[in-house]
Symmetry: C2
Subunit: 449 residues, 2 copies
């Protein structure tokens, strides 16, 4: 192991925290979703702790659910649009990376390219784009369609949109704008490139009306464990956010995705795999467990059942008693489905028990314990090659974020596993991922060979 | 006249200034288009001077022009996306309004509603949306179409998009989010409204996933002197940016648009008409004239001819000598066309002379002189009922903006024509335009009558 081999840490911010009932915790900010002061505070907290980046999930619709469950929820109800928010946060932070989700189904490629390029300039090279394909029909219905695109179509579309966006980011060479007041030449006309992308789906002429991003391209981030998701990640992603619950699944994913990168001519070092981890850390195990139980006690059974239904693939459970086991369900090979059914059968759980079990973290990995226990766990995953770091999902915010920064980060630093100061200025520099050359620059250098 | 009758002032920011050669002026920031520090400075300058708002124009494409002219230009080449920029500026200002342009042709209504609602929350109620319809084919080509929509279609679409956006902003009643940690109720389910808009063009279900904007609706701004433009303004706009060159045209527009408001049941006081005015102010008339001539000397003849061509409606003048008069041109009743041809004939100008005359301010009103001369001019328009204030377009930035704030604003204040302190906190409060009730609130109160 190289001595400079350090974990990377992303801070994943659901507004009030990742736990489904987070907002009811005494140390959560209940009005977080549109409280800019809250976001300023938690962005600065993560920056003081030297996190690589802040990560904001997103959806283009209110979550679909029955109203009795929904009105008790904060997740994906109403909150800031993430790019607007990150642009504001760029002005109150100096180093931390700023990653926003934008859907390739519901955003024109020109807008994606423009907004992330603008954010990259505004933030001094700290922008990242989390590429999602959007599978919810609720989103489609806000954009004049009844249904989300089918799985394969979504991924084809995503790959095409990424290529267009990369092409638009290369519209201007890095040194195109000379701004010479004496000669009167504002830009060098040989250094602007017209993309002229044409397909069945998209015709995008270009050039982008923003100069090339400071990072060349904002960091490309992706999540998704399906075969298509892994392949898209291997082709494009520079950071991934993976959902595995144990070290062996995480390692399988890690090795598989890094192996797939090779056929795209990519260096496996140039992607950081950061599995999600929701951490409750307190000075004693007892306190950590009590805090978790407190959070769990805030979950309303309606909410638990609704989340369970969603995770099983929109199976309607409203006709069953909370205290019955799950009814017989058809076969389905999706990851959540299989693991939930296995858990239900193994422990003979009722709908209520199962709902409470899965609703809190919605299938994400949760660890609770003392600082040493948490760091031992993280260290094992990292040293055994199951990850390049973690996406930390505080179960409630700001309380559990503060705890992580005060109790876990110093121990990671003491063990030499995490930075004590930012290495550079841009998000790419923090992650050790090189600034990509323009596709036109590489064509020129090939032509000159 | 009421003693509290004050002008309203908007600061219209082309990145380096409004004059076509602004960027070459010694007191302009040549790299302004993506220099966030520049924007922070000029936003704060306008706020110190108590401007009502900052106004950012926009287009979704690089301007179309021949490359020899284009590479000498800064206008609409490459610059920050305005909403991303204003969100950043929201964090470094406290009172000034933040108005960004967004096209109803090339943005999904859901995105417009979301982003402006987010900006309104982030800025504490200071957002405004400048509604444009986008007539350039260059923009269409970045969104999978060959041509911009036809004039009437563009305006029909704009009116529909505005209605959808207003409906989405009303998705949540102002008091919908109760966030009661004890009861576990996050929002009151009777206070969320599903829009369910369905037409040939748009199906938008809602609700918006952002709470109702702090201002109810962000301020609606519009420009456009055509009949459709005036009608749309009368129906929706709360501020307009009009292009008239003399007081009688401005007064005709003012009276006409305010009269048209009545049939939509609107109070004429609830729209502020702010004609564009590009000001060069120096302590002596001689210095002001010299500064203007310096700016004019920076215009390259290619740029002048290209702007002239564009203003005449894309008429190709490249086959004519710079020193000939304009060729015979077909009839056309657009405003710029008629006035340019009249000027050319009256003064017998060559293409070069005419180009230099129109290129600088591109048809906008320019005044140069001493502080007293400038304030006399503004006062006359204001007191004679030709406007409610002005949209100040500094010909170069920051220099000419600084001059305006240091020389003109204090004289306006001395004469009691302009505020010395902000009256309120939100953009609507600055302008004296009431916060609109939700359309559902008015339905409820009608039902209760």
């Amino acid at each position: 192991m190289k001595s400079d081999h350090k974990m990377r840490l992303a801070a994943y911010y659901n507004p009030t925290g990742h736990h489904v009932a987070s907002w009811r915790h005494p140390r959560a900010e209940a009005d977080a979703p549109t409280n800019i002061k809250h976001y300023v505070d938690i962005a600065r907290t993560a920056e003081r702790a030297k996190f690589d980046l802040i990560f904001l999930a997103d959806g283009n619709a209110m979550r679909e659910a029955n109203m009795e469950a929904l009105c008790r929820s904060v997740q994906f109800v109403a909150h800031f649009e993430p790019l607007t928010l990150l642009s504001a946060l760029a002005m109150v932070t100096e180093k931390i990376g700023l990653v926003a989700t934008a859907s390739t189904s519901w955003n024109a490629p020109y807008h994606i390219a423009r907004k992330f390029a603008s954010l990259d300039h505004i933030s001094g090279g700290r922008a990242g784009w989390n590429i999602v394909t959007s599978q919810q029909d609720a989103e489609a219905r806000n954009f004049s369609q009844e249904h989300a695109y089918e799985h394969a179509d979504r991924y084809d579309r995503a790959r095409e949109v990424v290529k267009i966006v990369l092409g638009l980011w290369d519209s201007w060479d890095d040194d195109a704008f000379v701004c010479n007041k004496d000669s009167g030449i504002y830009f060098d006309p040989t250094k602007v490139h017209i993309l002229n992308h044409k397909s069945e789906r998209y015709r995008v002429r270009g050039p982008l009306n923003v100069p090339r991003p400071l990072q060349g391209y904002p960091l490309l981030v992706q999540a998704g464990g399906s075969n298509d998701g892994r392949e898209t990640a291997a082709q494009f992603a520079e950071a991934t956010f993976s959902p595995h619950l144990n070290i062996s699944d995480a390692k399988e994913y890690y090795d598989d995705v890094k192996r797939r990168m090779v056929k795209y001519g990519r260096d496996p070092e140039h992607m950081k795999i950061l599995p999600g981890l929701s951490v409750i850390v307190r000075s004693t195990e007892k306190e950590a467990n009590a805090d978790f139980e407190l959070l769990q006690s805030f979950i309303h059974p309606m909410v638990a059942r609704e989340i369970l239904s969603t995770m099983l693939g929109e199976i309607d459970l409203s006709g069953y008693s909370f205290d019955e086991p799950l009814p017989d369900l058809p076969d389905n090979d999706s990851g959540h489905y299989v693991s939930i059914l296995a858990m239900a059968r193994k422990e003979n759980l009722t709908i209520r028990q199962l709902g409470m079990r899965v609703a809190g973290a919605r299938g994400k990995n949760v660890i609770k314990g003392t600082p040493d226990q948490v760091v031992d766990y993280m260290e094992e995953w990292f040293l055994k090659g199951a990850c390049d770091g973690f996406t930390i999902m505080p179960p409630y915010i700001p309380g559990a974020l503060d705890d992580f920064c005060e109790l876990v980060v110093p121990e990671l630093q003491r063990r030499g596993l995490f930075r004590t100061e930012y290495e550079g200025r841009t998000l790419r520099e923090h992650l050790g991922i090189p600034r990509p050359a323009s596709q036109y620059a590489s064509r020129r250098s090939r032509a000159a060979e």
